[in-house]
């Protein structure tokens, strides 16, 4: 059983990590290749295809042994060293993926400079003034359900207080053995409650970003681009709202599971199953939609004369956006799915500091509370 769980943990971290990064070059908009802007009709250029393929193959070739070593480490190392094996494997993976990416980015940039693809084309920045009037997000009223779940957790806790066991287990190790356990007290409710509130806060934030993020319309085929963008935002807002709701329910249910079943294995199985569902959901959405809906098959032809404005100089390494002239806070990622920040805006740094404080605060609070 232990081995099966170890393998499931590896499968739900290392494998998606490598697979999703390996496929990223094929999920971007058709006017971006490895973080470099290109004319849309060059997306299928054989030389660019070769660069992307080399990147993908390098990743998969590295990923297989690293995943193998991580699995071996998890199975063979002493118990207290196992989580380090996974941590180290993830760090090595991220580092090597980054190096492969930079290599491919530089090759693409060099090719673009050599070929002068944008000569004779009009470079445009395009937006749709009524973009946000369309359906781009699920209703914010769904967040009322979050409030209801949190209220239910609170009410049930005090209603069922007497029937709850004398000690409450806050976490379990990978075998389903109780980890941190604390004597029952009314204050214990603060643990799931603060986690629930934190998740809610995070989901509201992501939801807002999906609405606020820069409306980037492809100059080559603007009408189709508007539709792609809207479908993409709608689908991801739905994913965010419902996956977040599931998490809030899960963290509330942790308190009451002992009342339903004595089997502590369920405490491991349920969160793990939920994680796998979330990961699979995100992977499926990414593969079907692509960044900004670029993989959706839509009608409408691409005009060859007009291309997107070349803003490569604002994209450091093709991935970090730094443009002091741009008031936008959130822009689409060039390599990957979703949004990133304009690092030239002071507010971005304020947000990052807040996020760090929140994480540090959560760690310190849990150390203080549960030693």
């Amino acid at each position: 059983m232990e081995n099966i769980i170890t393998i499931i943990i590896i499968m739900s971290t290392m494998v998606p990590l490598y697979l999703i990064f390996a496929f990223f070059p094929y999920l971007t908009r058709r006017n971006i290749c490895m973080g470099v802007s290109i004319p849309e009709d060059k997306f299928a250029d054989p030389r660019l295809k070769a660069i992307k393929k080399t990147y993908m193959v390098s990743l998969l070739v590295t990923g297989a042994p690293v995943t193998g070593l991580a699995t071996a480490g998890m199975l063979l190392l002493p118990q207290d060293l196992r989580s380090y094996a996974l941590g180290a494997a993830i760090l090595i993976s991220i580092g090597s993926i980054f190096l492969y990416y930079v290599r491919a980015y530089k090759k693409t940039r060099a090719l673009k400079q050599k070929e002068k693809w944008s000569a004779g084309k009009t470079e445009l920045a395009v937006t749709e003034t009524a973009f946000r009037k369309g359906k781009i997000k699920v209703s914010p009223l769904w967040f009322i359900l979050y409030g209801l779940v949190i209220a239910c957790t609170l009410i049930s806790f005090f209603a069922l207080y007497d029937s709850l066991p004398g000690t409450i287990v806050l976490n379990y190790d990978s075998l389903g053995n109780p980890g941190t356990a604390v004597p029952k007290s009314p204050a214990i409710i603060l643990f799931p409650l603060s986690v629930q509130l934190l998740i809610t806060l995070l989901m509201v934030f992501v939801y807002l970003v999906i609405g606020k993020a820069k409306v980037q319309i492809d100059a080559g085929n603007p009408e189709a681009s508007v539709t792609r963008n809207r479908i993409f935002r709608y689908a991801w807002s739905a994913y965010t709202v419902f996956m977040g709701l599931g998490m809030v329910i899960l963290f509330g249910a942790i308190l009451f599971l002992p009342l339903l079943t004595g089997d502590s294995m369920i405490m491991i199985a349920v969160p793990l199953a939920y994680t796998i569902i979330s990961v699979v959901g995100a992977v499926v959405l990414s593969l079907v939609l692509g960044q900004s809906g670029s993989r959706l098959k839509l009608k409408g032809k691409t005009a060859g004369k007009e291309i997107n404005r070349d803003d490569d100089r604002y994209w450091k390494l093709g991935s970090f956006y730094y443009n002091p002239e741009d008031p936008a806070l959130f822009v689409e990622k060039r390599f990957g799915i979703g949004y990133t920040s304009n690092f030239a805006r002071p507010f971005t740094w304020v947000l990052m500091a807040l996020l760090l404080l929140l994480i540090a605060g959560a760690i310190i609070a849990s150390v203080f509370a549960f030693g």
């Binding site: 749709e128 003034t129 820069k214 803003d311 002239e325 741009d326």
Partner: protein
């Protein structure tokens, strides 16, 4: 409506923005009472300076094409729009003069110049009727 900004064009960015919004109204893509994005939002979506959008909106507001409310935000002026005021006629004559002068100097016929303007009017009328 779609707004397209050409960063390398000779026309300043604020002027491109202003002219496209006026054309959007002329073509019926923007109707009286339609909302427009806030200054911050439009500047962010196009990746241009706030002042640029501010300037375009300021000129459009002065021309009577849009209204800027503190709470309701920016919207297209309700029909019939600003109309051809006396001040506008003075400006139009001033702006048309050098164009007509150059056409004359190049030996163009009056009818040729008229037909260019006719064509523009025709394309706009076709759009608003549809």
């Amino acid at each position: 409506m779609l707004i397209k900004i050409d960063f390398k064009a000779d026309t300043p960015l604020y002027e491109q923005l202003r002219l496209q919004i006026i054309e959007g109204i002329a073509r019926g893509l923007l109707k009286g009472g339609d909302d427009l994005p806030s200054v911050r939002q439009l500047a962010g979506d196009l990746g241009i300076n706030l002042h640029t959008v501010n300037k375009a909106y300021g000129l459009l507001k002065a021309g009577g094409f849009i209204q800027v409310h503190r709470q309701k935000g920016v919207m297209v002026s309700p029909a019939p729009g600003p109309g051809s005021t006396k001040a506008y006629l003075t400006l139009l004559k001033k702006q048309l003069r050098p164009l007509a002068v150059e056409a004359y100097c190049r030996g163009m016929q009056k009818q040729e110049l008229h037909s260019i303007i006719d064509a523009v009017f025709k394309s706009l009328q076709k759009n608003t009727e549809e």
